[in-house]
């Protein structure tokens, strides 16, 4: 346990600089986005009201008020979120390959630590989870700040103030923040199960190299099949015999099986088949 925590700390520190850069880009880009989008709205309002001589109320009627939802549609806002997502997806691979590739052979050191090798696997997964949740938390912290900025730039007559919960429910952000805590756990848990499956695919490749890629693809396909088996069987073989609630629990079980298999196979490969 102690070594696990130390490994997590070690893995986090290895990526921390780049991660902080990601956080910084997100903060900067989103706040600039709030200002740019608000200015654009006000500029249009000025044009319509003073040049086309349309009354204020009619402008609002036609173009709608400015609210945070408008901001969430801009590239300034969604761009950094997507960028962070892409970087983290790449890092799911890089977190393993950086120990094998390049000049250093840090994989030797990791595999010779006096701890079960699955600890390394779990520590790397924990690191990914921490980074993901950290970004989610940052976004939550940023929203009230950005709302304040919006209030500074746009006067109240053109503005609809929305509470954080309404903003978070907007289509773009709803994916990051599910409605209820249970869904949050389920969605992010599902995401982590996918990370575990990818980890195990990487270990297949690291154990058997080129052949391992084929094994990895087959394993991945099998995992997907197991995960979707309840849905597929219900739709194509049982003629929708199951009710959504029953299907949900079967899916949950299928997800847990996939997760357990990923960890168990990862454990087996690390212990018996891995090559440096």
């Amino acid at each position: 346990m102690k070594r696990y925590l130390k490994l997590v700390n070690f893995e986090v520190n290895r990526f921390l600089k780049l991660y902080l850069v990601l956080l910084g880009i997100t903060i900067l880009s989103q706040i600039i986005g709030v200002i740019v989008e608000s200015q654009a709205y006000l500029k249009r309002a000025n044009e319509v009201i003073y040049k086309d001589l349309i009354p204020k109320s009619e402008f609002i009627e036609q173009y709608g008020t400015m609210s945070f939802i408008n901001i969430t549609h801009s590239v300034w806002f969604t761009g950094p979120i997507l960028a962070c997502g892409v970087v983290l997806i790449i890092y799911v691979f890089f977190i393993w390959y950086r120990d094998w590739f390049g000049k250093n052979t840090f994989s030797y050191r990791l595999l010779m630590l006096p701890t079960a090798r699955i600890t390394i696997y779990i520590a790397k997964a924990t690191t990914i989870l921490l980074f993901v949740l950290g970004l989610v938390a940052l976004q939550l912290l940023l929203l009230p700040v950005e709302s304040q900025v919006l209030q500074l730039v746009v006067s109240s007559e053109f503005r609809t103030d929305l509470p954080i919960h309404a903003i978070v429910n907007s289509p773009n952000l709803g994916i990051l923040f599910p409605n209820t805590f249970i869904e949050f756990v389920l969605y992010y848990g599902g995401g982590m199960a996918a990370v575990f499956v990818v980890f195990t695919v990487i270990l297949f490749e690291r154990s058997f190299r080129i052949k391992g890629i084929i094994y990895g693809i087959l394993y991945c396909a099998a995992s997907l099949l197991i995960f979707f088996a309840p849905l597929l069987v219900n739709a194509f073989m049982l003629n929708n015999y199951l009710y959504p609630r029953e299907l949900f629990f079967l899916e949950l079980a299928a997800g847990l099986i996939v997760l357990a298999c990923a960890i168990w196979i990862g454990h087996f490969l690390l212990k018996n088949k891995i090559r440096v």
């Binding site: 997590v8 700390n9 986090v12 520190n13 921390l16 609002i60 009627e61 709608g64 008020t65 609210s67 939802i69 921490l130 949740l133 950290g134 989610v136 938390a137 939550l140 912290l141 609809t160 929305l162 509470p163 954080i164 919960h165 309404a166 978070v168 429910n169 907007s170 923040f177 409605n179 209820t180 805590f181 249970i182 869904e183 949050f184 389920l186 194509f236 049982l238 003629n239 929708n240 015999y241 199951l242 009710y243 959504p244 609630r245 949900f248």
Partner: protein, 398 residues
């Protein structure tokens, strides 16, 4: 410990922020939108046992919240708990009730009320598998009957006669009269047919065409059931059928096509008889999906300057009765945001006026207004003036 301050602070901040967010949202959501009814006149008991469904947008904003309200509470439908959503089947209420009572019988069924019938003795389900469904199958009636007392399930299949004439078929209604099962079907080429089965012998007894669209060249046409029995699986005596034929096909042409046929037909399910409703034109034209049949009277609501008028047509005597009118205290209407429903002998109408929404409940037998109230909208704790509110369904619950 000092070496670990970075990771400890990342963890703490993350847990605190996400935790606070979800704790707050579980408290905050239930009262972000609240629609209350302010009493104007009449008996407030009328509001009991009805549920209104609608959508709300604050202050010229495209944020859209679907909600469900009673006189006691407003529920944000986007904020149901996860298990509430997973537990439901998404089926309309009467079917949810059937699922609760007859869990196994209801498995593997299309959950559309049109295909079900329930009375005190049995639950009947009919479906037609057509070549568009999987697995591919010829048009066949598949009928299942659950006898309530014994909980026995019997099932039988009958080929659709002359099935080569139809590409597809959809069930519009299922009714049981004594031991006769009537399945009313909308088929390809805009035809409405009824198939009668003997439930004891499990045989098709007869099949008839109820209505079909007259063939006019290069035209658009439509055949629809007006008193849509979608939410009802109970016994029903009449179907109201509307047939429209246009001189141009609406789908391909921008300018408004002319109606060349506009017919209304009442179909008496039990006696297998059809009857055309004869004009007056202005009433017939206002017939839409809010029209209903109560006992043997067709009720046709229409909006007037002062409120709502309901025309009455007696099917048996073939006569137009007296027009009921329900006046509203506030009459300046806003286009398009009103909703009317006739249900179990009562008129329910929500009227959008320049100063808000009014709900009026009227008695269709006496023509008297039973209740009038004003909707008061609060959103995030503040009373709202500028907002959009649409209602799309009113249901009565027991």
């Amino acid at each position: 410990m000092r070496r670990y301050w970075k990771i400890i602070s990342i963890c703490l901040v993350t847990i605190l922020v996400i935790g606070t967010f979800y704790i707050q949202s579980s408290f905050a959501t239930s009262n972000s939108l609240n629609i209350g009814v302010e009493h104007v006149t009449g008996n407030e008991d009328e509001l009991q046992n009805i549920v209104l469904y609608g959508n709300f947008s604050p202050n010229h904003h495209y944020l859209n919240q679907s909600f469900q309200m009673t006189n006691e509470e407003t529920i944000d439908l986007t904020k149901l708990s996860f298990f509430q959503r997973v537990s439901g089947t998404g089926a309309p209420d009467p079917l949810e009730e059937l699922i609760e009572k007859h869990k196994n019988f209801m498995r593997s069924k299309d959950l559309t009320p049109n295909q079900f019938f329930e009375d005190e003795n049995a639950v009947v389900y009919a479906q037609i598998k057509d070549p568009y469904d999987l697995p591919v199958k010829d048009l066949t009636f598949e009928i299942e009957v659950l006898t309530k007392k014994s909980e026995d399930i019997t099932a039988f299949q009958v080929d659709v006669p002359q099935k080569e004439n139809y590409g597809w078929m959809r069930i519009v209604d299922v009714q049981v009269i004594d031991h006769e099962l009537k399945v009313i079907v909308r088929g390809e080429r805009a035809i409405l047919r009824v198939y009668t089965f003997d439930m004891n012998k499990q045989q098709l007894v007869s099949d008839d065409t109820i209505a079909s669209i007259p063939k006019v060249e290069s035209s658009g046409s439509d055949l629809s059931i007006i008193n849509d029995t979608y939410y009802s699986i109970q016994r029903q005596k009449y179907l109201l059928i509307k047939i429209e034929v246009f001189d141009k096909d609406r789908r391909y042409i921008d300018d408004i096509p002319n109606l060349i046929v506009n017919e209304f037909i009442v179909y008496d399910i039990e006696n297998n008889q059809t009857k055309k409703i004869v004009k007056p034109n202005e009433i017939v034209e206002s017939m839409d999906h809010s029209s209903a049949v109560h006992h043997s009277t067709v009720l046709i609501p229409s909006r007037t300057a002062n409120g709502v008028e309901v025309s009455q047509y007696d099917i048996e005597s073939d006569k137009w009765g007296e027009t009921l009118s329900f006046d509203l205290s506030e009459t300046k209407a806003v286009e398009g945001e009103s909703f009317t429903k006739l249900m179990s002998g009562k008129l329910y109408t929500i009227h959008a006026t320049t100063s808000g929404h009014t709900i009026v409940i009227g008695d269709l037998e006496t023509g008297e207004s039973l209740y009038e109230g004003k909707l008061k909208v609060t959103y995030q704790g503040a009373e709202q003036k500028n907002y959009r509110l649409y209602f799309h369904e009113i249901e009565s619950v027991q």
